[in-house]
Symmetry: D3
Subunit: 247 residues, 6 copies
Amino acid sequence: MRIVVTNCNTTQSMTEEIVRGARAAAGPGTTVLGLTPTWGPESAEGWLDSYLSAAAVLDTLRTYQEQEDHDPYDAVVMAGFGEHGREGVRELVDVPVVDITEAAAHLACLLGRRYGVVTTLERSAGQIEDSLYTAGVARNCAVVVGTGLGVLDLGDQERTEAAFVAAAERARDAGAEVLVLGCAGMTGLQRAVGEKLGMPVVDGVGAAVKLAESLVSLGLTTSRAGGYAKPLPKRRTWARPGAPPSE
Amino acid sequence: MRIVVTNCNTTQSMTEEIVRGARAAAGPGTTVLGLTPTWGPESAEGWLDSYLSAAAVLDTLRTYQEQEDHDPYDAVVMAGFGEHGREGVRELVDVPVVDITEAAAHLACLLGRRYGVVTTLERSAGQIEDSLYTAGVARNCAVVVGTGLGVLDLGDQERTEAAFVAAAERARDAGAEVLVLGCAGMTGLQRAVGEKLGMPVVDGVGAAVKLAESLVSLGLTTSRAGGYAKPLPKRRTWARPGAPPSE
Amino acid sequence: MRIVVTNCNTTQSMTEEIVRGARAAAGPGTTVLGLTPTWGPESAEGWLDSYLSAAAVLDTLRTYQEQEDHDPYDAVVMAGFGEHGREGVRELVDVPVVDITEAAAHLACLLGRRYGVVTTLERSAGQIEDSLYTAGVARNCAVVVGTGLGVLDLGDQERTEAAFVAAAERARDAGAEVLVLGCAGMTGLQRAVGEKLGMPVVDGVGAAVKLAESLVSLGLTTSRAGGYAKPLPKRRTWARPGAPPSE
Amino acid sequence: MRIVVTNCNTTQSMTEEIVRGARAAAGPGTTVLGLTPTWGPESAEGWLDSYLSAAAVLDTLRTYQEQEDHDPYDAVVMAGFGEHGREGVRELVDVPVVDITEAAAHLACLLGRRYGVVTTLERSAGQIEDSLYTAGVARNCAVVVGTGLGVLDLGDQERTEAAFVAAAERARDAGAEVLVLGCAGMTGLQRAVGEKLGMPVVDGVGAAVKLAESLVSLGLTTSRAGGYAKPLPKRRTWARPGAPPSE
Amino acid sequence: MRIVVTNCNTTQSMTEEIVRGARAAAGPGTTVLGLTPTWGPESAEGWLDSYLSAAAVLDTLRTYQEQEDHDPYDAVVMAGFGEHGREGVRELVDVPVVDITEAAAHLACLLGRRYGVVTTLERSAGQIEDSLYTAGVARNCAVVVGTGLGVLDLGDQERTEAAFVAAAERARDAGAEVLVLGCAGMTGLQRAVGEKLGMPVVDGVGAAVKLAESLVSLGLTTSRAGGYAKPLPKRRTWARPGAPPSE
Amino acid sequence: MRIVVTNCNTTQSMTEEIVRGARAAAGPGTTVLGLTPTWGPESAEGWLDSYLSAAAVLDTLRTYQEQEDHDPYDAVVMAGFGEHGREGVRELVDVPVVDITEAAAHLACLLGRRYGVVTTLERSAGQIEDSLYTAGVARNCAVVVGTGLGVLDLGDQERTEAAFVAAAERARDAGAEVLVLGCAGMTGLQRAVGEKLGMPVVDGVGAAVKLAESLVSLGLTTSRAGGYAKPLPKRRTWARPGAPPSE
């Protein structure tokens, strides 16, 4: 099967890292295609970024599936932790859609009574909480904590690991028995940190790939019988005409 | 004071109607400026539309406030019932931001023990429920019901009124003691329907204007001390480069 | 328009301070009339005081509106933070009723993701939590904290301010991005403290005046279609006959 | 032991009926004393009545315990279903306090997964819901339904029984497996109706007497370590000076 | 009346201690019979123990009531704090069933606004939280804290008391105004600790006995009209045939 | 990998049917081993059955893993919809454990805004609701409805399908956009019914197999850092000594 993974920002190197993580998780018969939005924020950190990202990701998928020669795909994985857009993509495409936020939470619920999310900046905590709530998996979330590192600061492995471990200890004190990596760019941390802390650490990208494969293999896709019906046909303009494209 | 009211779609006539409603509610010293996004959906009905609308509204406000000669303004009213973007606008601008969804609910809570929302299509109910929840005012919402009419079908006054009354009766049976008009384009219905039903009917546009005036007059604006801190400086691209701008 | 503001206790000087706060918030065309109960507690601090106060405030309004020559009024503001009686007044009068507890919370919800209430004694926290819950605005309340000062101890500005700031820091640590002054007698603190803390501070008296004006100006009043129907006609005795009136 | 049972209204015949019910439930060593407020509503049906009743009941107990020659008592049962005042009485007296609303719900939770409350007028449902919520026992309440009969209409046994059975069937359809009699004056119905419906029917007066006896016999009383600390000493006026005492 | 008290484990000395506690609480006309399961865990500490215990307790009661010459009984008290099985016993027997977990919580709700549970090992907290939730009394539970002592370590009175007091202080800091002894084997602690802490301390065994007596005396028993209908007749095997009976 | 699937009852033919369903869902490299308890109920329908089943399933797994020559396994799937024992098995084994109740709900959350469960007898609804709640996935469950058919009545395909469709329509009216088959023995219905209703239908057995494979493939297993620590070493007796093994 073929899974399209959408980055939530315009940073190509992050798409590549996400695709690496997705491929590492994917089963033998699964192909992964990464899509990078051609517009939107270079990283999503806050509500404005998140809403901008949501429209850009929708546009990216819409444009992709309108290409005459595009390869068919079986599922979409949305790789923006806590970012918006999930329900819109469910309306747009006919295949199952799994967002890494909800995916990590779903698996975390199976591994312990309470899980904690460790994310980048504290300011993202609210978005993540709302995203977990609307996905229906907030009840067993003990806490969302920030490391104080921005998305693009995650390069320094050592500092990131130290910040992550410190934040994870706060999550454990708040009752978490399982940790969730609250950023697509944290994928590499999973094993190292898990060993240090003696707790399972769930990465959303891997989790979402497995859930997408599961749905596809069971022949399940998004219900059209309610809120995720197809978008109504109407005039939509997807970009500001004649305006300078970037800030 | 000066209030900017943003339509959530590209339909200029709806902006005009919304501005009329806003002006009718505004106090003597208040000026209302309506902004219509130059891109986005012609009407917002569903999640995809809503996320597209959120980015377009953010872009519209961003562009407006970057114009060298723009008039200063004291508050923003977001006139898309159940649409996304609210928190992003709170990050973007330095003045108070009031969304018509939350505004109507806040006032409705003061008028009865439970309120009901009557909206256009049933498919919008989920978005509205989530929006009320994250705004912190869902607890006293008895139900969200649809009239089955699309946003652009609201022109036929008589049919709209009949559909609204039928839906409102379902809301009352579910425990609503107050009604909320769940669409910016319903503003005209308020008085006629209220009399027929013997229940107060709250229109979000008027409610939001009064709340915006209240905040301005009390010298209150959005807290920067948490999730609504200013957007971080970074590269953001607000439009798809080199692509045909509309569908 | 004319707004009646009811103090929840018998201390005339507090009524005067509340009226000053209300007038400062009121729009140009608004007149404020303060009513002081002739019976009840001299300050409301705890459940017994609160229930005694509720009956006395109801009696005060009932007596006022039964006076043949009373001036008409357009709204009632109830100025007892966390005190009971709100729903009873909604039954009693035909104009909109706004309680300062709910009013502050409604506006606070518009200014940040979570708000915290700073009140006088810790023992009042439970009442305030219940009042916010039944008003439908508890969801975004991060915490209610006490300063340890009684209502009648608020006179010493410096000590009050210091106690308030200390309590507000606890609220911020609990996630509050906005503060609510949890006592009518704290009205003066708002600006000084807000600057020190870099957070918006909402005073219930001002908030309630603006919400009352908003409802009146939109032509909205309490629904009679449910729990706030008019009191049934029956024999009610409003005071202990022939007993010594005070403790 | 000696239990004081307070009626919530001024109707002496209702006190007598309540006392009969209390005595029927009381253990062999328990004496029951009924107190009727000398002021307040003749029946409590709605919020205004409820707040008036709360102050009158507090005053009644306060006056009683200030009588030099009053008999000591071991517990207070408050016999107003859904009426206010419970927490104030907990502050006032040094013995355990049990309200019939919470008492019925506590026992009902032990008898089935969900219980339903059948009360007099629909307008009381909101008060009862709030009372159950703040007592901490709302979670297993399936529904509160009204019979449409006023408190003082309960005299006609046959009509009352028919109305009760009809309402109880609605409660059962909403998931109730146990019924709660939502009015002190319904005490007589319990056995007849229970047999007709094949469901346990809990009467609050009997339930409260047994819970009060339980607490006394276990040596337990209200905690003073938090919200139910003793009322602070201060000036309180319990009656409107110089005013005609009744309406 | 006659109450059967079931220990949740196979330790006869704990049954004896529980029976002593039950008898101390029981009214003059009440006889207490303790039953010790002949299989199951020697102490219940964790989920596996709890599920094993549930089946063993059910089997113990089933076997007892199938004995031709068994004495009749009027109620069952289940003396395993936080242990499973409650609803199964409600199906099995025709008399009221009270579990000590819920019983303590019900009484605690009457004594303060929030209660805290002090249990043995931290690992039991989750079970207790779930048990309170499904019993419908979790809302007013401030916290469940562990002393770090195992069930069979409670013998050393002094150490137990010190550990309990330390844990209770954590509960108080979390808002508890009332304490619940979270283990049947803690019954002795109640008075000593209560005095040290100035807070009421509720023991589940005593609470359950009083609630069972209350239900019996009011003629109330489990509803058969829903989830607690009688077990369906079918083939059930209650023990592993031909296998070594113990580990 | 090798997955052990435990039936919750002693009916060998149901184990076989479950294993067939599990194999149909399993990936190419996955082997499925079905275990049938040698004791317990022949079908689990109600609380007593469920607790008996929980102990029997624990014993079955314990016995299996104590066999010297048992094949190693990588995950456990528990195939009793709404039955107890999940957390105990998590303590017992070192591999991931997935219960079909939670599994179906996790996948259903990815497919629509609300899901509904269609189960056998109405009396099981409460257990299922509690199981979803404690698993952390109840929030998006619109309703649990019964077909009125017992577990062992599911043989008649046509009647079962008709009853299922009728119940599913009730679920849809309650807001469900996705259906969950609420019984392991319903596995065959999935495709036929899904087509008739135009809604995705999730079978717990398939869902649990995919989730178990996902966890194994991601190297994740149950956290030992909290409530699911290994059972403490102690004396446990797993069978009633000297008693006739079956009813």
